[in-house]
Amino acid sequence: MLERALIGTKRYYLLLAVLAGIFGVGFLFYLQQLKFGLGITGMGRDVSWGFYIAQFTYLVGVAASAVMVVLPYYLHNYKAFGRVTILGEFLAVAAVTMCVTFVLVDMGRPDRVFNVFKYPTPNSVMFWDIIVLNGYLLLNILIGWNVLECERHSAAPPKWIKFLSYVSIPWAVSIHTVTAFLYAGLPGRGYWLTAIMAPRFLSSAFAAGPSLLVLLCLLVRKYSKFDPGKEQIQSLAKVVTYATLINVFFFFCEVFTVFYSQIPDHMLHFQYLFAGLDGKARLVPFMWFSIVGMTITAILLTNPKLRQNENTLAALCGMVIITTWIDKGLGLMTGGFVPNPMEKVTEYAPTVPEAAITLGVWALGFLVLTLLYKVAVSIKEEISS
C-alpha cells in the first residue's frame, strides 16, 4: 500500500517538497541548538519549559481526539464514521509523531534518552507518559494500516484488530490524562495545581482535534475523489460544539475557585495572564482573545444553521483550533511558570531558532500526515471506482 504515497500529482509533490523544506530548515537550526545548548531558545531558569512542551501538550490532545470517531463507530455501531475512522487514526499517528519529536528536541541531553528505559522510574509521570504515548502510536499504526488493508480487499478486519480498537478507546483518554498529570501534581505551581486539569485537557482536545479533522475532511473532499461525507462532517461538528462548550464551562469553573477562594498562589498566575503583573503583560491580549473568542465560537456553534453551512463551520473550527492553542500552548506553559517560586516575573517569548525548530517539527508531522492520507485516500478512491 505504501507505494500509493509515492505516486501523485504535481501538486502533491510540491506539497511534499515544501513540507520537507520547512523540516530541513528546522533541522539545521536544531543542529545549532545541539551545539550551543537550549540557551538558543527563549527559555531560562524561571520559565524552564516553553514552546516545545506547549506544542507537545497541544498535540497529545489532537492525537487523543481520534477516539471521537473510533468510539461511536466501534461502541455504538455508528456506521457513518466507518468512512472517517482511518482519517482520525492517521491524524493521531502524525500528532503523536510530533509529540515525541517535541519531547526529544526539548531534552538537554537527547543522547541519553534511553536512560528512561535503562532506569525505569514508575513514580515519575513522565515514565508513564512515554509508555502511553508510544503505545498509542503503535496501536494507531497497527489498527489504521490493517483496517485499510482489509477494506482494500473487501474483507472483514481480523478479530485481534477489533480487540485493539476497543483497547485504543480508553488508551486515548489515558494519553491526555497522563499528560495533564505531568503538571497537575506539582506542589509549587498554583496555575497547574487543579484537579480539573485532565478534564480540561480532554475537553479542549475533543474540541480542537475534531475541528482539525473537519478541516482535513473538507480538504480531502476538495482535492481528491474521496468524499468523507456530509453526515460525517456534521456529526464531527456536533462533537466540536459540545466539547467547546464544556471547555469554556471548565475554564469558568477554574476562575471561580481561584478568585472566590482568593488564594494568592493561585490568583497571581491568572492575574499575570489576563491583567499583567509588575507591569509585565506580554500575554494579556492573546489570553483575552482566546477566552472571548472561544466563548463566542462555542455560542455560535450551537446554531445549527451556522454548523450546516460548511463555510461558516470551517471558520468556526479554525477559531476553535486557534483559541485552544493559545490557551493550552501559550498560556498554560508560561502561566504556570510566571510568577516564579520567589514571586518574581520573568516573561518568556520564543526566539527565532526556537520558532524555526517548532515549525520544522510541525512540517514533519504534516509530512507524515500527507503521506498517510495519500495512502488512505488512494485506497478509498480505488474501492469506490
Binding site: 545548548g37 540557551g39 536512560n115 522510574t121 514571586e343
Partner: protein, 270 residues
C-alpha cells in the same frame, strides 16, 4: 529481603516481561535502594539526617557574599558576567535566563512569599536571606525525575547524578523553591578559575546544591558553613548532642513553604 520464592518468581517474570535486566529489575523490587546503598554514610552509627540552620540575626551582606563565593568556587559554578574570553560575553538581557546558582540571597518577601506581615522591622525586610536547596524529606524533584538522576540519600541529602540526567527539566517544574539551575549553554568559558576538587558540567544537565556531599565524605563541613563564621549551623538533626539540634531547641525557626508538605531541612532564625 523478606520475599518468598513465589514472589521472587512473579517479580522476575514481570521484569523479564518488561525487558528489564540487572539494575532495572532491582529497581522494580526495591526502588531507590541502589543509590542509597552506594551512597556515602558519613558520621557514626544510627541514621544521619543532615540539616542546616541559617541564623539571620548574625547575617549581613558581607557574610552572605562570602558564603556564596565559597560555594560557587568549590563547585565550579559559572559566572556569566565574567567570561574568560571577551568574545563569549553574554548580553545583559539574557543573563538571568542562563544564571546558574546554588546559593543566593533574596529579601524576605521573595524568600517567604505571602508570609510577610503588613508591618515589619525595616531591618528584617532588608536582610539578605540565603537560599539553597532545602534537601526536603519529601522532595517533589525526586518524585518527578524519570531516570532517578536526582535521588534522596538515606542521610537526607537530595543529590544529582549529572551523568544520568537527560535534561528534561521536570525537576525544575517540580521544585517549589526555584533552587534548580539548568546548563542552558556551556558553562566552562565562564569559570574563571577551575577548582580541581569538583567536576565541571556539560550543556543540557540540571544542577543544584548538594549540601557538599563530597566534602562531608571527607569529614569537612559544607563550604558555605565554613565561610560563614558561625552564621550557618550544619549537622546531624538526629544526633541529640549536635549543634544544629541544640540550636533548633533553643531558637524558634521558620522554613520556606512548609504548607506544601515537602518538609524542608533548611531552618531560618529570624
Amino acid at each position: 529481603m523478606g520475599m518468598d520464592r513465589r514472589e521472587f518468581i512473579r517479580i522476575s517474570g514481570l521484569a523479564a516481561l518488561l525487558g528489564l535486566s540487572g539494575k532495572g529489575a532491582f529497581e522494580l523490587v526495591r526502588p531507590g535502594q541502589v543509590e542509597a546503598a552506594v551512597a556515602a554514610k558519613p558520621g557514626a552509627e544510627g541514621v544521619v539526617r543532615w540539616a542546616m540552620v541559617v541564623n539571620m540575626q548574625k547575617m549581613d551582606e558581607a557574610t552572605a557574599k562570602k558564603c556564596i563565593e565559597a560555594c560557587h568556587r568549590v563547585h565550579n559554578v559559572p559566572d556569566f558576567t565574567k567570561p574568560k574570553d571577551a568574545k563569549d560575553a553574554v548580553p545583559p538581557e539574557v543573563l538571568n535566563r542562563y544564571e546558574v546558582k546554588w546559593l543566593w540571597t533574596e529579601h524576605f518577601h521573595n524568600a517567604f512569599p505571602g508570609e510577610e506581615p503588613p508591618v515589619m522591622p525595616e531591618k528584617i525586610a532588608r536582610l539578605p536571606f540565603l537560599l539553597l536547596c532545602n534537601h526536603c524529606d519529601n522532595p517533589p524533584c525526586v518524585r518527578v525525575c524519570p531516570t532517578k538522576a536526582t535521588f534522596r540519600r538515606e542521610d537526607g541529602i537530595v543529590n544529582m547524578d549529572m551523568h544520568r540526567c537527560i535534561g528534561c527539566r521536570f525537576c525544575m517544574a517540580g521544585c517549589p523553591f526555584g533552587v534548580r539551575s539548568f546548563n542552558w549553554r556551556d558553562p566552562r568559558p565562564y569559570i574563571t578559575q577551575e577548582y580541581p576538587g569538583y567536576p565541571t558540567r556539560e550543556i543540557g544537565v540540571v544542577e543544584k546544591c548538594t549540601f557538599c556531599a563530597e566534602r562531608l565524605a571527607q569529614n569537612l563541613m559544607p563550604a558555605c558553613v565554613e565561610a560563614s563564621r558561625g552564621t550557618l549551623i550544619f549537622g546531624d538533626l538526629n544526633d541529640e548532642k549536635s549543634k544544629v539540634r541544640d540550636t533548633l531547641k533553643r531558637y524558634f525557626t521558620i522554613r520556606r513553604k512548609v504548607h506544601l508538605g515537602t518538609n524542608p531541612q533548611v531552618y531560618y532564625i529570624v
